[in-house]
């Protein structure tokens, strides 16, 4: 606002205590030659632009289209995901769990916020929230209903608590009415939440 003396364009905005502290630490580590500004920029850029749920969506779409790939994926997910070029930090060891009409899988990390970065990017705030971490292991169906997913009583629920370095990706069910779709079109249907296991994939509207 132009009448705000602090935030007018003549003065940079006042930083929050956290922003100020982060700025101070970054500056000091740079001064000591322990960091590089361009390396920090590069990491931020990679996670803002390159690595995200589209990677996981490609894995899912491939598994839907290619039964032999799906078998490899369920047997050795790390290797099968690497076939598509994805892997590395926080995805060194991967397991894919398949949702079926009878079994629904959902992933969490109660102790911190472990999440398969190479295929899903960095986790959303709700995945890291205390509420999700506290509740999903205790009342998964209630939490899933809050996400709009009301599972029938007959469906078994499996909650995967990522307590080690094994990272989990849910292979969601392929929605009906997609038989004619290409692998790329299918990938565009696959949502981040369906690969965490808090959503299913809706049939595309015609």
């Amino acid at each position: 606002m132009s009448d705000d003396p602090i935030n007018s364009h003549h003065h940079p905005p006042v930083l929050s205590p956290a922003a100020l502290r982060a700025k101070a630490i970054e500056a000091l580590l740079l001064e000591k030659g322990l960091l590089a500004s361009d390396a920090i920029d590069r990491i931020v850029e990679i996670y803002e632009k390159d690595v995200g749920p589209l990677n996981g969506a490609k894995v899912v779409a491939r598994a839907w289209c290619d039964p032999t790939y799906k078998r490899r994926l369920l047997k050795d997910a790390t290797a099968a995901i690497a076939e598509l070029g994805f892997g590395g930090i926080q995805g060194e060891h991967m397991t894919v769990v398949e949702n079926t009409p009878k079994v629904h899988n959902v992933v969490c990390c109660t102790l911190c916020s472990c999440y398969p970065w190479p295929v899903l990017g960095l986790p959303p705030a709700w995945y890291k929230s205390i509420a999700y971490r506290a509740r999903i292991v205790r009342e998964p169906r209630v939490v899933l209903r809050e996400f709009g997913l009301d599972l029938p009583k007959s469906v078994e629920v499996r909650v995967w608590d990522s307590s080690a370095e094994m990272r989990y990706l849910v292979l969601p069910e392929r929605p009906p009415g997609t038989a004619e779709m290409s692998e790329m079109e299918l990938a565009s249907l696959v949502t981040r939440d369906s690969m965490i296991g808090v959503a299913r994939i809706e049939a595309p509207s015609r």
Partner: protein, 269 residues
Amino acid sequence: MNSVHDIGGTDGFGPVRPELNEPVFHEPWEGRVFAIFAIIGAGHPPVPVDALRHQLERLDPVQYLASSYYERWLAAMENAILEAGTLTRDEIDAKIQQFAADPSLAIPRREDPALAEGIPSVLRAGQPVTRQIRQKPRFAVGDHVMTRNLNPHGHTRLPRYARGKRGVIAHHHGAHVFPDTNAHGLGENPQHLYSVRISARELWGDGAEANESILIDLWESYLEKDDRAAKSSAQRTSSGMKQAPSKSRLQSRKVSPRAASKARKKKPR
């Protein structure tokens, strides 16, 4: 350690609130902190992720709960830097004063193109934690196990809600670096790691749904054989089914012939 980070099963935190079209970082400083943390983790020598997680869980519990995710990372990073002696509290405070007094002051840049160009391959390589060990896995898929009631003051990945519970081995993941020692610089001590399936009723009582379970990754030393389940399955075996070669028969091959003949004279109960 038993602190507030170990929060699985706790009530009172309200609904989960997803945010539509959430940005990867809500403010620029979050991205900077994330990146600095990653560079420290992959540095020379690398700081194991176990040690970084232990920094997070050692935050003051009130601060932990009251902070946003990246505020926690920032505080843990600062503590790690102070403990390593890389920076002092006075240096950080003085720099904060300097930036607070003059908000137009930018961080002076320091470029290292070689380091920046190497970032994608460092991220792609990651830090695998599987190791080859001589010990054979103690458990096989389908084995009934009991999680131990361990309460170390240091780092552990056995959450409170899953201690002293009966479960079944669902997967064997090979041997993985053991966080309980690795976080404290006490060595990798790799152990076999298993996904253990524990029913919701075992965890939360009869009020829980029947067709729900938790699958949690636990190291071998967190587990013991579930003798009660083993006994009941042995009883089922003796009452009809054909018996597999018993463990005592296999063991008797190792003892001396004299001891073995003595053992044979003993009447079975």
